[in-house]
């Protein structure tokens, strides 16, 4: 099986590549991304491609003629790129790669990364939507993800192959760049205790396991992948022994600016999550993919356990003990 992984330079992409490299039924893996892989890859081939370089992306996809496309080329605002770059990169990558893939004769299935931000959190929106709830994003990141899903569905229709859209809860883990993770780890964290609603998280390893399971499942439709349980922002901050600073309404403008000064800018979808909550019913994905993601409580607990940072000794020196 030939697998094309977009976004291989990200934490998820590299890990998915490593997992697929261990699978003997996967004969060839081709990866592409703006950034180089985060860890060593063994038998995958990587190409550095700018998301806006459509000609190069289309050429690579057509030449490789993949059987499965794993589209992880989604850029979260303030994760590693600015919000405008993230929006442009996500849209361009989806259109060029999935558009080219639709014309590949060997294509059998498409798996795309999406997020539960596509459901939106407008007033009166369902608290814990399942996959049957129509999407109505209320943040720029949610709109970007909805666009990716739409492009993938169109490509799937053209190629007549199943499209699995994995709607991940916000992904947090020990090494994944996440604006929410950065924000919650500040020494003092702004929260809205009078209006906050619970949110669910997903560990990065759970997201990778779901991606790999989806390749084999060939499911056609969206699946919510969510860590069981939920926490509120205040609860998470207390679990991390941080100082919660109450803020309401327009106070969030100042709170956002102060967080940005401390190196943890808060994109709209993360702020929405802290105030309006963000969760979804993940039972269908657990049943279809046979996965068992870590609970949201565990994910939060692990978020605050990265207290020790290993500083490798410079070459030729021995680390002090």
């Amino acid at each position: 099986m030939r697998v094309l992984i977009t976004g291989m330079g990200g934490e998820l992409g590299t890990r998915v590549a490593n997992l697929l490299e261990a699978d003997e039924s996967v004969t060839e893996i081709l990866g592409m991304d703006l950034f180089p892989p985060r860890r060593r890859i063994f038998r995958s081939e990587f190409h550095r491609v700018e998301p806006t370089d459509r000609r190069k992306a289309v050429h690579l996809v057509r030449d490789f003629d993949p059987e499965v496309i794993v589209h992880l080329g989604v850029f979260e605002p303030h994760s590693r790129t600015s919000p405008s770059e993230a929006r442009r990169g996500t849209a361009a990558s989806a259109v060029s790669v999935l558009g080219a893939a639709a014309q590949c004769p060997s294509l059998r299935s498409i798996v795309v990364r999406s997020g539960i931000e596509v459901y939106g959190r407008s007033r009166g929106a369902p608290t814990r939507p399942d996959e049957s709830v129509p999407i109505a994003p209320t943040s720029p990141f949610g709109e970007s993800l909805a666009h990716v899903e739409q492009v993938a569905v169109e490509a799937g229709e053209v190629a007549d192959v199943p499209v699995t859209a994995l709607r991940f809860a916000p992904i947090v883990g020990p090494s994944i760049p996440s604006p929410l993770g950065r924000y919650l780890r500040l020494p003092a964290v702004f929260v809205d205790p009078v209006s906050e609603l619970p949110f669910s998280l997903l560990h990065q390893e759970g997201a990778c396991q779901a991606m790999v399971a989806a390749i084999g499942a060939g499911y056609d439709g969206p699946l919510n992948v969510v860590g069981p349980g939920a926490v509120t922002a205040t609860q998470a901050v207390l679990m991390g022994r941080r100082i919660p600073i109450p803020v309401i309404g327009p106070g969030w403008l100042a709170a956002g600016a102060l967080a940005e000064l401390q190196g943890a800018p808060l994109p709209p979808h993360s702020r929405e999550l802290l105030v309006r909550g963000c969760t979804a019913d993940g039972s269908e994905a657990r049943s279809v993919l046979g996965i068992d993601p870590r609970s949201t409580h565990d994910v939060v607990a692990q978020l605050y356990r990265w207290e020790i940072v290993d500083h490798p000794a410079p070459t030729g020196q021995v680390a002090p003990r």
């Binding site: 007033r123 009166g124 929106a125 369902p126 608290t127 814990r128 939507p129 399942d130 049957s132 709830v133 809205d192 009078v194 209006s195 906050e196 609603l197 619970p198 669910s200 349980g229 939920a230 926490v231 509120t232 205040t234 609860q235 998470a236 901050v237 207390l238 679990m239 991390g240 022994r241 909550g277 969760t279 019913d281 039972s283 409580h297």
Partner: protein, 222 residues
């Protein structure tokens, strides 16, 4: 220190322990916002406000979802009375439908089990095995008549196969004594089809009215 106090049976040690746990964030909250520990903390205060007798609690399933259709007059006390009464009788939480999605009222009521008035929200709760309290419309003129039941909301019960149980609440808005009478589950609609929800609503409405008629005291002062 609080563990030591708890072991020695010092008065107030349990409350102190709960407060300490909350300060560490070591408590559970579900996806809809219910905070069971907060409900337990508020229990003594709620006990001062309402004295509730529950009849027929054995009609409720011990596990799994069910829709409890209940009457209300002003609708202020009834959701609290139903939730507290059923919790006392069965140990299960009731998720009452009808919370406004406006802060700070909405999030506050969600901590005590309130949920939004949406069919997909009710279906999600039933799939998760929760008891859902579905109020009929208010009837301010008479306490002897149950209100209108919204048909669309019962589609969630049909979709998930959860039983629908009529419940009569008898009491005064400003009074302390309330009685909850739980009726027999309404037989499920076998045929399905577009009329299924309407027929289920009609049967449930009639069953709730009979239950209320039988439960209301006959004294002239009531």
């Amino acid at each position: 220190m609080s563990t030591d106090l708890l072991r020695r049976g010092v008065p107030g040690a349990q409350a102190l322990s709960q407060v300490q746990r909350r300060a560490r964030g070591a408590y559970d909250i579900d996806e809809w916002g219910l905070d069971p520990e907060l409900v337990a903390l508020a229990n003594p205060v709620l006990g001062l406000r309402w004295d509730i007798e529950v009849r027929g609690a054995d009609q409720l399933p011990a596990v799994g979802g069910a829709v409890l259709v209940f009457n209300r007059r002003f609708g202020i006390s009834e959701p609290w009375v139903l939730a507290r009464g059923i919790r006392q009788a069965t140990g299960r939480f009731v998720r009452t439908v009808g919370v406004p999605d406006v802060a700070p009222v909405g999030p506050f009521l969600r901590r005590f089990g309130g949920v939004l008035d949406r069919t997909d929200e009710i279906a999600g709760l039933l799939r998760a095995g929760q008891l859902v309290g579905l109020p009929m419309s208010r009837d301010l003129r008479s306490r002897e008549r149950v209100g209108h039941l919204e048909v669309e909301r019962l589609e969630a019960a049909l979709e998930t196969g959860a039983p629908v149980v009529p419940v009569a609440l008898v009491g005064r808005e400003l009074g302390r004594s309330w009685t909850i009478v739980v009726g027999e589950p309404v037989p499920p609609v076998i045929d399905g089809g577009p009329l299924a929800a309407a027929e289920l609503a009609e049967t449930t409405h009639a069953a709730a009215q009979i239950l209320l008629d039988e439960s209301l005291p006959t004294g002239w002062w009531f």
